[in-house]
Structure formats: structure tokens, C-alpha cells
């Protein structure tokens, strides 16, 4: 009975991992997030509508778990975070392209979580604006304004026009 769903879940794992890695940066933390998502999905399979979109369902679960994770991080003392770490043997691109990529990865960390989420679901996961609105449970207009803010912020950060200082929540258009 779960055969088809199991297969759909398994097929979604690589994309869940890619998204989680972009969200968390620390690979172990990202995979923990994916694992939590899968466990929750397996245990709640009976809640999944058969005609539903499995990938969207899984991304919704992951999004909610990540929101909890981010809240937990925010209440931790901010002396230093795991994200500052760079494990030995990590890729250290020396070529120009690599430097630019690192710049984008770094700038991504300075986006407010809700902007980063939208940017990744649209830009990396190639989801429609409607899908993103459903997953995040926000109006379409909010998705568009977050996307716009995210892209502009990232552009300014990577062009060096803005110092990555505050990541405070910015006002949103209704």
C-alpha cells in the first residue's frame, strides 16, 4: 500500500538534501533535517492525500521543521555558530568562479530566513510561485515581495554595495 509513496519519497530525497544543505550550510545539520523530515513523513503517511504532490508535502514538512530549528538557534547565545566552521578538506576554490560562488553562499547566510526560503524554493527548486505560497502558507503577494527583497539583497551583498550587517526582519507588503 505504501509502495508508491515510498518510491515518491525516495525520489525526493536528493532534492530535499540539496535544499536543506543550502538552508543550513553545515552538511550534518542539513542531513539531520532531512532525516527528521523523512521520519515525520513515514509516520504520517496516512495523512498524505493520494492525489497530492509528494514533493510539495515533503518540502512543507521540511519547512516547518526548519522553522523550529531556526527558532532554536535564535535563542542560543550568538557567540559563534557552527556555520562559521569550515571543516578540513573542504573545497577551497581558488579560481575566480569559485570565489564568486563562495560569495553567493556567504551572502545567502545574511538573508533573513523567510527571504532565503523563497529564493531557494524558486531559484533552486524551480517551484511555481503558487506552490511556494502553499508550502510556506503565505499569500502570493508575500512570496513575490520576499523574492524581490531576497534577490536585491543578494545582489547588493555580492556586489559589495552593502555590508552584511543586520539580518533583521524587514517589513513586508501585505
Amino acid at each position: 500500500m505504501f509502495g508508491a509513496s515510498d518510491k515518491a519519497i525516495e525520489e525526493a530525497i536528493p532534492r530535499l538534501r540539496r535544499y536543506a544543505r543550502a538552508l543550513c550550510r553545515d552538511a550534518a545539520e542539513a542531513d539531520d533535517l532531512v532525516q527528521d523530515t523523512l521520519e515525520r513523513a513515514w509516520s504520517r503517511m496516512h495523512l498524505f492525500r493520494r492525489e497530492g504532490n509528494m514533493r510539495a508535502w515533503l518540502f512543507t514538512i521540511l519547512h516547518n521543521l526548519n522553522a523550529n530549528r531556526v527558532r532554536a538557534i535564535k535563542t542560543r547565545p550568538a557567540l559563534t555558530t557552527l556555520a562559521d566552521w569550515e571543516a578540513s578538506g573542504a573545497i577551497r576554490p581558488t579560481q575566480e568562479e569559485g570565489v564568486q560562488l563562495r560569495g553567493v553562499a556567504k551572502a545567502l547566510e545574511h538573508l533573513p530566513e523567510e527571504q532565503k526560503t523563497v529564493l531557494l524554493l524558486v531559484g533552486l527548486e524551480d517551484m511555481t510561485y503558487d506552490q511556494v505560497a502553499k508550502i510556506l502558507d503565505v499569500p502570493l503577494g508575500t512570496v513575490m515581495s520576499r523574492l524581490s527583497r531576497a534577490r536585491e539583497r543578494l545582489r547588493r551583498l555580492t556586489s559589495g554595495a552593502e555590508a552584511p550587517a543586520e539580518t533583521a526582519r524587514e517589513g513586508e507588503r501585505p
Binding site: 538534501r17 542531513d31 557567540l79 562559521d84
Partner: protein, 260 residues
């Protein structure tokens, strides 16, 4: 709304829709015309496109990694059967009745996270105490025997203070610190140039691997070398070259091997 779709002003959302390939027909042509005429918007759109490309370049390799075994669904998920659920509920009740202690004892963190967090605490301790001028340590290096005795008692396992004089680092002293689940110790050393390194250690009780290789991690201001050996977790932290830190790590490792 009733405007001609070919001449309606371009909305910001449409610029996004263009690069996300959600725009079609007449509006696609209208937006492209607009970009041909508006250099500033064209530059913004080009930058956004480059962002998408960068995101894919950064994270697409993960798609090819193959799914780790930990993500396979357990063959017979206990929670999927009613009997299993009842048993799980009963277990929770029992555990709840005993104060939930058994549950709290379960360590659900991954090995990797444990190592990173240990290194992080060592780095924080280094960052906090190594710049200290008047009170860098609790027990000065002149009372080395007392320091070792005291810390052995508090860590619950015999520890010695490695002598790094031979490689140019004299003992400043040591202190007791709180780690995640109990006490940890920090030894501080200083060379002739005033550079300080700290050695952070704690008793390792879990069933985790007792001996690991050196792992080097670099934070903004300090490098940390982490390993596990002889029932202890070790972290050597210092703002010195990776090669120097590694050499020092080998010396510490050798000395603590002999000490047992």
C-alpha cells in the same frame, strides 16, 4: 486591468517571472522590449539570473551524491503497526513515570555534530581566556602537580599536564570549565613571542569510538585540532599556522600516550 497587454507598464513581479520562466506570450515580448531599453533593469535581471546559476552550481552536486543508507525507510517500522504504537505509548508512559530520564539520556546528535560542538566549545574557551592578562588561569603553572591532581579528581579520570617546553611553549596554568554534560579542563601554554595555545579536554564516556584521527577545523581567529584518545576528548586551539598546530598536536598526543 483593461490595458492593452502589449503596452501595460512592466511590473517588478514580471521581471522575476521572466527569469523564472513563468512569463509567456505578449508579456514576454513586452518585458524583453522593456529590458532592451532600460539598462538598469536589464542589469538587475542579469544579476538575478546569475544568482540562480550560482545556486545550482553550489548545490546541484548534492543531487549526484547518492542517498545515504540512513535515509532508507526502516524495513519494519514499528510505529506503522497498531501493536507497535500501543507498545510505544506504553513505553513512553513507563519512561514518563520514571521522570523521562532514560529518554533524556539518548543522544540523538550525529557523531559529526558532536565533534563540531566539542571543537566549538574548545574554541570559545580559547577565545575567552587566552587574551586574559591578569586571570588567564585558575591554577598557575608553578603548581603543576596540584593542577593535575585537582583536574583528575574533577574529570573523574587521571590526567597529566603535557610538558611542551621542548617545543617552546611554557605552561601558564589551567582551569576547570563546564562542558556540555560535565566538567572539562583547559591548559594554557605560551611561547616566547607571547602566542598562546590552549588544550581542552574532557572525559569521554559514551560508546563512541575511543580513538579518532586528528581533525582540523578553522574558525575566524583560531584553528582547532580535535581528536579522541585514551578515554578523553582533546582539542588544541590556537591562532597559529595549521602546520604548527598539527606539529604541536603530535607532541601532545605522544606525551599523553607515554603518560598512561
Amino acid at each position: 486591468m483593461s490595458q492593452d497587454p502589449r503596452t501595460r507598464p512592466i511590473a517588478e513581479d514580471e521581471l522575476h517571472a521572466l527569469i523564472d520562466r513563468r512569463l509567456g506570450g505578449e508579456r514576454l515580448a513586452a518585458v524583453n522590449d522593456h529590458l532592451a531599453a532600460d539598462a538598469a533593469d536589464a542589469a538587475r535581471v542579469a544579476a538575478w539570473k546569475a544568482q540562480n546559476a550560482a545556486l545550482h552550481a553550489l548545490y546541484d552536486p548534492i543531487l549526484d551524491e547518492g542517498v545515504p543508507a540512513r535515509f532508507r525507510r526502516p524495513a519494519r517500522p514499528i510505529a506503522a503497526t497498531w501493536l507497535g504504537r500501543a507498545a510505544a505509548a506504553l513505553l513512553l508512559l513507563v519512561l514518563g513515570g520514571t521522570g523521562g530520564y532514560a529518554l533524556r539520556g539518548l543522544d540523538v546528535r550525529t557523531e559529526r555534530t558532536i565533534v563540531l560542538q566539542f571543537a566549538e566549545r574548545a574554541a570559545i574557551a580559547h577565545a575567552v581566556y587566552s587574551p586574559e592578562v591578569r586571570h588567564p588561569v585558575e591554577v598557575p603553572g608553578s603548581e603543576e602537580a596540584h593542577l593535575a591532581q585537582w583536574l583528575s579528581r574533577r574529570l573523574g579520570t587521571p590526567v597529566t599536564v603535557p610538558d611542551l617546553q621542548g617545543v617552546g611553549f611554557g605552561l601558564v596554568g589551567g582551569r576547570l570549565l563546564p562542558d556540555a554534560k560535565g566538567p572539562a579542563a583547559q591548559y594554557m601554554y605560551q611561547d616566547a613571542a607571547g602566542r598562546r595555545v590552549t588544550l581542552y579536554l574532557k572525559a569521554e564516556t559514551g560508546k563512541a569510538k575511543d580513538q579518532t584521527e586528528f581533525e582540523y577545523l578553522r574558525q575566524e581567529r583560531a584553528g582547532v585540532l580535535v581528536w579522541r584518545d585514551g578515554g578523553l576528548g582533546w582539542a588544541l586551539a590556537g591562532d597559529i599556522d595549521k602546520a604548527d598546530l598539527l606539529r604541536l598536536g603530535h607532541v601532545v598526543y605522544g606525551l599523553t600516550q607515554k603518560g598512561r
